[in-house]
């Protein structure tokens, strides 16, 4: 079984944006997601999610190119108005077909 390198794109954001961001990522070709409830503290103050539940972390393993596209789309759409961070790092996976 062959090992290959992909990119883990991670978004941490307000709960309220979850569905929107998943749509954006699907549109850029992400095939799967792992979602985790998180709390957070960042450069912005309080926000509505106090009441709607916590932040959500969205993780998706994708190819290098898709990773770039998702990060870019995120930055353009959300960075100005919403509490959101995005980062990526390389991961090694088995059965890479799954993620492309």
């Amino acid at each position: 079984m062959s090992v290959s390198e992909f990119h883990m794109v991670t978004i941490v954001t307000e709960r309220i944006l979850k569905e929107d961001i998943l749509d954006l990522m699907r549109a850029q070709g992400a095939k799967g997601f792992t979602l985790t409830d998180t709390d957070g503290e960042g450069s912005r103050g309080v926000r509505a999610s106090d009441w709607e539940g916590k932040n959500v972390k969205i993780e998706s393993i994708v190819g290098a190119e898709k990773a770039e596209r998702i990060m870019k789309a995120m930055a353009e759409t959300y960075f100005e108005n919403y509490a959101v961070i995005a980062y990526s790092y390389p991961v090694r996976v088995f059965r890479g077909e799954k993620y492309t």
């Binding site: 307000e14 309220i16 103050g45 309080v46 926000r47 509505a48 106090d50 009441w51 709607e52 539940g53 916590k54 108005n81 919403y82």
Partner: protein
């Protein structure tokens, strides 16, 4: 004065105070978020159910005028709040609309506290009052959000925000509860009534413990929002309350019904409105609207506002 003291000694108000004190002492007390969510679901559904059952026993004519008046107040109050914020407070368009949306809607807990207070002083508001909460929940938010969108100054999606407010959990539970209660009627409701009626006041104690802690977390933001907003969060509710007492009595509500309506109308939402505003007006600053509705108006209403509306209603209603 006596009524006031008595209000302060109710378990519900005391639990609110306990929550504030716990946070001031930096206690590690925490209401687990799922419990907070459960209590919200339970309280909203219970309010709806009780309102629906009462409605099924109310002749339509009795309910028609209060219902219309409530709807009307849902249209007026966001506009008056907006006017005060924008023209007296010189607040920017987006933040003024965001706050107005909160004061156009209603805080369900303030409503419950008002009903409990009335019952404690031996008066009984109309059973269908919870239905009025459902009527008041939505229109004010929509009116307020329309302002910047009509002026082309919003950045978020009005359509998404409308969907959010119409299908948000609070409205689904309230309206769903009313419909279930109405269709089931008092007889079929009897089997679930121990759960939804007897347990209600106790569940409220836990909920207010959490609200007290949430309020305390917000107190440190009071400095940030400035004196104008503090004044706004006390005076505008009083004005809205007077208006509601007057219109409520005119629509045929009893004295205590009018007082409860005043508490509802004067209150600021902190469940339905924040979610909608976050989507429709992402540039609005949550510190302003949450601090005003939860940090100022809610504790004011809970402690002083409700007895005040009751006195006003007695005085205007002439009883």
């Amino acid at each position: 004065m006596d009524a006031l003291l008595s209000n302060f000694a109710s378990p519900v108000v005391l639990a609110f105070a306990l929550g504030i004190i716990a946070k001031l002492f930096r206690s590690d007390l925490e209401i687990p978020r799922p419990l907070y969510q459960c209590l919200s679901i339970y309280l909203l559904l219970a309010i709806g159910l009780k309102g629906g059952v009462a409605l099924s026993e109310t002749p339509f004519v009795e309910f028609a005028y209060p219902g219309m008046i409530t709807f009307l107040l849902g249209l007026i109050t966001p506009l008056s709040a907006f006017a005060v914020l924008r023209y007296m407070g010189k607040m920017d368009l987006v933040n003024a609309s965001a706050i107005a949306a909160h004061y156009g809607s209603v805080s369900a807990v303030t409503f419950i506290a008002a009903v409990s207070y009335m019952q404690a002083i031996g008066m009984s508001p109309e059973g269908f009052m919870p239905t009025l909460v459902a009527i008041l929940e939505v229109p004010g938010i929509i009116v307020a959000l329309l302002i910047p969108h009509l002026l082309g100054q919003a950045k978020g999606s009005l359509k998404k925000a409308l969907h959010e407010v119409m299908t948000g959990s609070s409205i689904i539970l309230l309206v769903g509860g009313v419909v279930i209660g109405y269709v089931a009627g008092p007889e079929k409701f009897a089997s679930v009534s121990p759960f939804f009626v007897s347990g209600f006041q106790g569940a409220l104690v836990l909920f207010l413990l959490e609200l007290g802690m949430a309020t305390a977390r917000r107190v440190s933001d009071l400095r940030k929002v400035g004196l104008f907003l503090v004044g706004f969060g006390i005076l505008v509710p009083i004005l809205h309350g007077i208006l509601a007492v007057w219109l409520g009595l005119m629509s045929g509500l009893s004295v205590s019904g009018a007082a409860v309506l005043a508490a509802m109308v004067s209150s600021g939402s902190y469940i339905a409105a924040p979610a909608a505003v976050r989507i429709a007006l992402p540039k609005a600053n949550p510190t302003y609207y949450l601090t005003a509705s939860l940090g100022i108006t809610f504790p004011f209403n809970l402690t002083l506002g409700i007895p005040l509306y009751a006195e006003l209603a007695k005085w205007i209603g002439g009883s």
